[in-house]
Symmetry: C3
Subunit: 132 residues, 3 copies
């Protein structure tokens, strides 16, 4: 079911997947305009856009840790990774990115990032090409 597979190498990590999503667009031979709908098929990681100047990846992970309240979680399975589920829901796992002329329409500094919150793991991604 997955169209792309990405492997994280540490417990918490920002992965730049812009190149893989752009390659996926090229493999589908969309020459006109449209959008790619992307869903990260997991509940302990997220998908969003980011500036990736040096340090901002760790800054974003620091930010996420800092906003996570120190609460007694009810989730009985493994409370230690409950925040990774909740941050995944807050960040979201879906993105729809316009394209034109075979190129993703991104800003100069925009990178598509996978926010790994419970790695290292293999992460699977579904992609639908919409348009011509």
């Amino acid at each position: 079911m997955a169209d792309l597979v990405v492997n994280s190498s540490t417990n918490e990590q920002i992965l730049d997947i812009t190149g893989q999503i752009q390659d996926e667009l090229e493999n589908r031979h969309h020459s006109g305009s449209g959008a790619l709908a992307v869903n990260l098929l997991h509940t302990t990681a997220g998908l969003t856009m980011a500036d990736l100047d040096p340090g901002t990846d760790q800054d974003f992970l620091d930010f996420l840790r800092a906003i996570t309240p120190d609460i007694q979680w009810r989730h009985p399975h493994d409370p230690s990774h409950t925040p990774s589920h909740l941050l995944s829901s807050l960040i979201g796992t879906t993105l729809t990115i316009p394209f034109a002329g075979g190129r993703l329409q991104l800003g100069t500094w925009q990178r598509i990032i996978l926010v790994e919150l419970d790695g290292p793991r293999e992460r699977r991604i579904a992609v639908a090409g919409l348009g011509s």
Copy 2:
């Protein structure tokens, strides 16, 4: 204008609407691939993905309450529900979910959730089917 209607039963609640969105996909007879674009037509509730192991629904509501700052809100209409507006904007109300062969492309543990923050209410959802 709404394609789906969901009723919440308490003031704050996580509703699993995966089945209703999958039914909506089937009613539209998409046999190929594409995506469903979904918008929850409200400003005091959100739409996202989540793991729904027992307790994680209440954990997410606890998380949202805990990150909400204790501020004197300016919104004059009814300051008591201002946080529900702001959390709705932070979580978001739109999702676009790829499908293939008539099935939503979701991870094993991914559920589509409606985050009710000002219920109980009737909640209306617009859905657009994109693709073949």
Copy 3:
């Protein structure tokens, strides 16, 4: 590459861009149903939905400032705008909005907002029309 240009006038600001997105839909002559995929081409601003009763725009900016932790950021370029990058990633820069009969499918109180976090600036937006 941009389909729409919006100018913010202050450092932090909520801009209602619903009218511009609706105009963009009309310019594309979509008479059937589908969705508009929108990406804000920047990393220090976000795109989401909101209630815009008087005061809620400033309440959302207060909320975002209040949840931002007081941390020593690593980003060396200009640490003073690091929070604007991180809040942009948290809010997101993409939205996909269903339409039918030439109208965006929005709730009564839903407005499409651009969250300016590092203005004043010219902000560019890419739009892809999906559907008939």
